[in-house]
Amino acid sequence: MRGTTYKIFKYTLSDLLRSRWILGYALLFAAVSGGILYLGDQPTQAVVSVLNLVILVVPLVSLVLGLMYHYANRDFALLVLTQPVHRASVFRGQYLGLSLALALAYLVGAGVPFLLYAIGNPVDWAQVGLVLLAGTLVSLVFTALALYIGVAHDERVRALGLAIGIWFSLTMIYDSLLLLFIILAEAYPIDPWVIGLSMVNPVDLARVMVLLKLDTAALMGYTGAVFNKFLGSNLGLLLALLALLLWILVPAWRAQRVFSRRDF
């Protein structure tokens, strides 16, 4: 039974790397970000545009493809679970394989156009690297969420609806409420609250992480002490990374618990 996690991880990855969906995702991402790079004028604008894809597309695709994989593979998972293996190991292997496949597809889709673009054009690798890192982490977060939703719901339509609801809430509704809060609570010292609230949402986290490198100048324009301490130093980057890590570990751990105790 030793090494089950690794074996399942290997199988999942080798299955998914041949998947047309994953391949299509990588190609489509490459096409769109390549188009932005070559048709746009400025590599910094391109980084911002790719960041927008990371914020909108990567969570949605990770959720949907994650759920699709989960349901398509449910029957094989059943066969695997009748072998002498621990459920937790099977889950961990599946999560690692699935999230790595999605992260790789993203990295190829977003990274290769930048590499090609770098031939003959100036590229700020610190910015690009941060966008790639942010997208990878977002892939891992939303794959964990997808599996959490998947293991808790047998009906795939319901699960898909829930996933899309979560996606919309995190990308749009949450920020709207945050903006409303900022406007309404203007008179109060809300800086720490605003920072804290932007650390709660993984999509915001990824965005703020890139922001710290991309728009340092603009962010420094506002002289609130808490803001500057957080945004103007590596502390913000470190905290954002840690919070994203929590966003990966907590849903993955919850999903593993459900997976280990549920009936198949």
């Binding site: 074996k7 199988y11 066969l79 459920r87 198949f264």
Partner: protein, 234 residues
């Protein structure tokens, strides 16, 4: 040998197993029969560890099965509707299961020939027909020569030749002293293979005994009619 003692399971308010007791003997084929939603699949999945029962005990080969994945090394299983990762080949699936079990299994070549699976070895599983998937599933169940076999609708989708070969295989396994638990909607098939019948109705055991005993009790010569009679009586 598989022993089930006072097994209970409820899904929400629905009691699926109401204290099931059963002893599946080696060298016997036990047919688990009953109407739809009578608890057949839940019983088998409990033995396999796929369903976590609310109460009772399960022993496989004398060893506690609940929370003990190691006992599954002694069980071979054919699910009702086998599916495999769609982008990998038949050969890879076989190798994966071998790796997971940590053993090569016996007579892989013979089984490949028996089910005529050799030409499919390099095909991705998504192009396989239902029957071929069933054959692959059978191969995986028998490959490791396990003392216990749990077969859920094993012949569904099999062509007549494969079906008859499969039945020969089951008969040989029974004669080799294996404990076999199976379900089927094809009563003639059960009649051909089964030594004993476990009749489940709404989660309770209505009848558990030899086929002859069932015939004697119901006065019907044919198993199908005997079972039908049991259902009517309940």
């Amino acid at each position: 040998m598989v022993e089930v003692e006072a097994l209970t399971k409820r899904y929400g308010t629905l009691e699926v197993l109401k204290g099931v007791n059963a002893r599946f003997e080696p060298g016997r084929v036990t047919a688990v029969v009953g109407p739809n939603a009578s608890g057949k699949t839940t019983l088998m999945k409990s033995i396999l560890g796929l369903v976590v029962p609310d109460g009772g005990r399960i022993r496989v080969g004398g060893e506690e099965a609940l929370g003990n994945p190691a006992v599954r090394a002694r069980i071979g299983y054919m699910p009702q509707d086998p599916r495999f990762p769609e982008n990998v080949t038949v050969g890879e699936v076989i190798r994966w299961i071998q790796e997971l079990r940590g053993e090569r299994g016996k007579g892989l070549d013979a089984l490949l020939d028996l089910f005529a699976l050799r030409p499919a070895l390099n095909q991705p599983t998504r192009v396989l027909s239902g029957g071929t998937r069933q054959k692959l599933s059978a191969l995986l169940a028998f490959l490791f020569d396990p003392p216990v076999l749990i077969l859920d609708e094993p012949t569904a989708g099999l062509d007549p030749l494969a079906s008859s070969r499969f039945k020969d295989l089951v008969a040989a396994a029974r004669d080799g002293g294996k404990t076999i638990i199976m379900t089927s909607h094809v009563m003639s098939e059960l009649e051909e293979l089964a030594d004993r019948v476990l009749f489940l109705l709404e989660g309770s055991v209505i009848f558990f005994g030899a086929v002859e005993e069932l015939r004697a009790r119901t006065g019907e010569a044919r198993l199908e009619r005997a079972v039908a009679r049991l259902m009517e009586g309940a």
